[in-house]
């Protein structure tokens, strides 16, 4: 089924988008976003940062107070029906009817999305198999696990073969296995079907693992944007922390590591050195320590994290922020 | 015995405290009996024109006796709802963990129910008096009527608490309420027993609540009837439902 799609420009574009609530601060305070077709864009921020409000505006469920945006080339305010036809959305609440079965949900969605009658059953079966719910298809959703509900939610978003997918905190509350399965599916959608994915999350590792580019939002404003690697590189270089097997070797260890960068002695009997050239120096460090017969108890490589990026930009840690 | 008393006092205090701090909790217990009084005494007062309807104080008093005892029964039922809510929210588990004598939990809920009903019963009585109800019983007889109300509340609360403890979910509501409702209405609600016919007459004749209601009406009219029988039936119901509630508590303890 061909969904409307305007190929001109980015798949999602927001210009100075604002959402103000009555008697409240600005939930979204003038954000600019440009997401290319086929990209997985991670929208990362703590609770209350404005992620879901942004998604609600881009999916036409909430009118912006100011600014503009286009999704699939269609204006969210003036061409909202076309926007909705070209997107799929799995919002923060799974929003399922506990009394209906998975299959009934999909059939209802297919009918309302305007799929021709003869195509509905076929598409329902396709999606049930795709998300691994074929066996549970005729059980009521009230009996589904959290992971199964999220998979059904994703399937519902895909019924009408949209080109753009919005996922609002899709793995919150899921166990690690369900989370990994969902990640795999999102990657496959982007890689094999060229789908544009706008993913909001408060989990660093999710944004790091999935997103081609990340926008970090805090208190309604975008504080940083770029690829995960570039964002982390902006903050600092990786470091190596070495603990010698013999305490007496601390002095020698320090001298040897000084050859790679500025080293610092830690209070726990270790020495840490920054690697301005990157983690490629790690192999050489191991060679030098070995050739000087310096026995090592532990050797750890530390990479700057997105939490470090958030801390650098906002002065607060992302993990636990906004809770 | 001391530990039983402490637990009883603690649970009862919480019940009363919650009512005082959030009076909305008690509103349904007050509204429903007042509503029934208005609807029955007001809407059906013509029933006193039926030949052989010979209750001297009049139809308002006739209905008041029923509504007074009904409010006592429903007060017990609402306590059951509160217990079910406590289990659903997990608070009941806290009570079970911290009570050295768990039977005191049941006693505490019952005591709370009795104290709340005293407020409701007073309001309903005042409303009936303001509506012009005739009272022909003396002080002792009216105290007897109060005693019937307390007995009804006691028995209904134990029933409701038992069901709530067995089922431990708010969805137990209809199961708590319906039997009490049906038992109350399969009694001479609108007309005396002598004016009932058909299967309702047959059922009402053997319904223990009939004796309690008739006794209440008699006390109000200054012509006591079946008073001892009524108190014995209420005492018996209390003993049976106390055992039922205790078994419910054991079931809750086993479930953890």
């Amino acid at each position: 089924m061909a969904m409307p799609h305007n190929d001109q420009g980015p798949a999602i574009e927001a210009r100075e988008l604002v959402r103000e609530f009555r008697k409240g601060p600005r939930a979204v305070d003038g954000i600019d976003i440009a997401v290319s077709t086929g990209e997985i864009y991670g929208f990362l921020g703590p609770n209350g940062a404005g992620k879901s409000t942004t998604v609600l505006m881009l999916t036409t469920l909430l009118p912006p107070t100011a600014g503009s945006a286009t999704v699939g080339g269609f204006d969210i305010s003036r061409e909202s029906a076309q926007v909705r036809a070209s997107i799929g959305a799995a919002l923060q609440e799974a929003a399922l009817d506990a009394i209906l079965t998975g299959r009934e949900h999909l059939k209802l969605q297919a009918t309302l999305q305007g799929l021709p009658a003869r195509r509905r059953t076929e598409r329902t079966q396709e999606l049930l198999e795709r998300v691994g719910l074929s066996e549970a298809a005729d059980r009521r959703v009230g009996g589904y696990s959290g992971g199964m509900k999220r998979r059904l939610d994703l399937a519902l978003a895909l019924v009408h073969e949209p080109r753009i997918l919005f996922l609002d905190e899709p793995t919150t509350g899921l166990d690690p296995q369900s989370r990994a399965a969902l990640w795999e599916e999102v990657e496959r959608l982007a890689r094999d079907e060229g789908m544009t994915v706008f993913l909001t999350t408060q989990y660093l590792e999710e944004a790091d693992a999935l997103a081609d580019r990340i926008g970090i939002i805090d208190q309604g404003k975008i504080v940083a944007e770029g690829t995960p690697a570039r964002l982390k590189a902006e903050i600092g270089s990786p470091s190596v922390e070495v603990t010698p097997a013999e305490k007496d070797d601390l002095g020698l260890l320090g001298e040897l590591l000084d050859g790679f960068g500025e080293s610092k002695r830690g209070s726990n009997g270790s020495v840490t050195v920054q690697l301005p050239g990157g983690e490629a120096a790690l192999a050489e460090i191991v060679r030098v320590l070995d050739s000087n017969n310096l026995r090592v108890e532990t050797l750890q490589l530390h990479q700057p994290s997105l939490d470090d990026v958030f801390l650098a930009k906002t002065g607060r840690k992302l993990e636990g922020a906004g809770a | 015995m001391r530990r039983f008393a402490y637990v009883t006092r603690g649970v009862a205090w919480r019940s009363i405290h919650n009512t005082v701090v959030n009076p909305a909790i008690i509103v349904p217990s007050i509204i429903f009996p007042l509503f029934f009084l208005v609807a029955f005494a007001g809407g059906l007062s013509r029933i006193s024109d039926i030949p052989r309807f010979d209750y001297k104080p009049g139809y308002t008093a006739f209905q008041f006796a029923f509504v007074f005892l009904q409010s006592a029964a429903f007060g017990g039922v609402f306590t059951g709802f509160a217990v079910a809510r406590d289990f659903q929210s997990g608070f009941a588990r806290r009570l079970l963990l911290s009570s050295p004598n768990r039977s005191g939990i049941i006693a505490g809920y019952v005591l709370g129910a009795l104290m709340r009903w005293l407020i409701v019963g007073t309001i309903v009585t005042v409303a009936a008096l303001l509506a012009g109800m005739n009272v022909e019983g003396d002080g002792i007889q009216l105290t007897g009527l109060l005693g019937l109300g307390l007995g009804m509340n006691f028995a209904a609360a134990l029933w409701a608490i038992g069901v709530a403890m067995f089922l431990r979910t708010e969805q137990a509501g209809p199961l708590i309420q319906m039997p009490v409702f049906v038992a109350l209405f399969l009694a001479p609600v609108y007309v005396p027993l002598s004016l009932l016919t058909g299967w309702v007459h047959a059922v009402s004749s053997v319904n223990p609540i009939t004796a309690v209601i008739e006794s209440g009406r008699g006390l109000l009219a200054g012509s006591p009837v079946k008073v001892l029988l009524a108190f014995l039936l209420l005492a018996g119901a209390g003993v049976v439902f106390a055992g039922f509630a205790r078994r419910g508590l054991a079931s809750a303890e086993r479930a953890g």
Partner: protein, 261 residues
């Protein structure tokens, strides 16, 4: 161009979901059907002597009382419709539907369609119970059909009230809280005695101004009187008026719930 199913198909899809949901929740299905019948059975027998009051319009109190379960059942339908729509608002299911080309009228009518199915089933059950307990219909077979039609109209009217409350309040708990008020209107009417035989003047006055009295009297006239055009006109008139007012108010409320730019 955005693909779109017809209004009829959209209403059908939503109504099917609503009806399936209602029939799958057995407690919500049987209790509202059973409770009015229990009251009918008890009161029909307990108040049988009321027919000895001079001027009582029939010798069978059951025949007089049969109208009550229909109206009481319709009130339960209202609560069902309201709480189910409120649940959709609370869970965000309405947002899911808002992302489809679903028209707001289709959402409202579909939701009511499910309630209507429930109301129809209930009405048939009450009718059969009435017949089984010996009630005869002064208006004959034609009157039975009109009684069913009036009952369904009343159910629909109350369902629109439930839907309006759901859209305005957005909370199932709030709807449940309003529920007792509906029953107050049922009891403060001519549900147990004809208006002209109510002794307490204030009660008679309230019952006269209470539209529920006319719903009951419309249904009752078909059972105990035959064809009473005035009673039927009032019965149909009040229920259609209630449905119209509620639908007119519900439409903008639904549009704002299905928030879309």
């Amino acid at each position: 161009m955005v693909a779109q199913t017809s209004l009829f198909e959209q209403v059908g899809a939503v109504a099917r979901r609503s009806a399936v949901g209602a029939f799958r929740q057995r407690a919500l299905l049987f209790f509202p059907m059973l409770f009015p019948l229990i009251l009918f059975a008890i009161n029909g027998s307990a108040l049988s002597k009321v027919t000895e009051i001079p001027g009582f319009p029939t010798h069978s109190y059951r025949a007089f009382l049969l109208a009550m379960p229909f109206v009481q059942g319709a009130m339960f339908v209202s609560i069902n419709a309201g709480t189910s729509l409120a649940r959709d608002v609370e869970t965000g299911f309405l947002n899911r539907l808002a992302l489809t080309p679903l028209r707001s009228e289709a959402m409202l009518l579909g939701q009511l369609g499910g309630a209507l199915v429930l109301g129809t089933v209930q009405a048939i059950v009450y009718l059969l119970v009435g017949i089984a307990t010996g009630v005869t219909f002064a208006s004959g077979v034609g009157g039975v059909l009109v009684l069913l039609l009036l009952s369904i109209t009343i159910s629909f009217a109350f369902a629109t009230l439930g839907g309006l409350l759901a859209l305005r309040l957005g909370s199932g708990e709030a709807i449940q809280g309003i529920f007792p008020l509906l029953f107050v209107t049922l009891f403060l009417s001519s549900s147990s005695l004809p208006r002209n035989l109510i002794k307490a003047e204030w009660f008679k006055e309230v019952a006269t101004y209470n539209p529920v009295s006319y719903l009951l009297e419309g249904l009752r006239s078909l059972v105990i009187q035959g064809w009473n055009a005035q009673a039927l006109a009032k019965g149909f008139g009040f229920s259609i008026a209630l449905a119209t007012i509620c639908l007119l108010l519900a439409r903008p409320a639904m549009k704002s719930r299905l928030v879309r730019t």
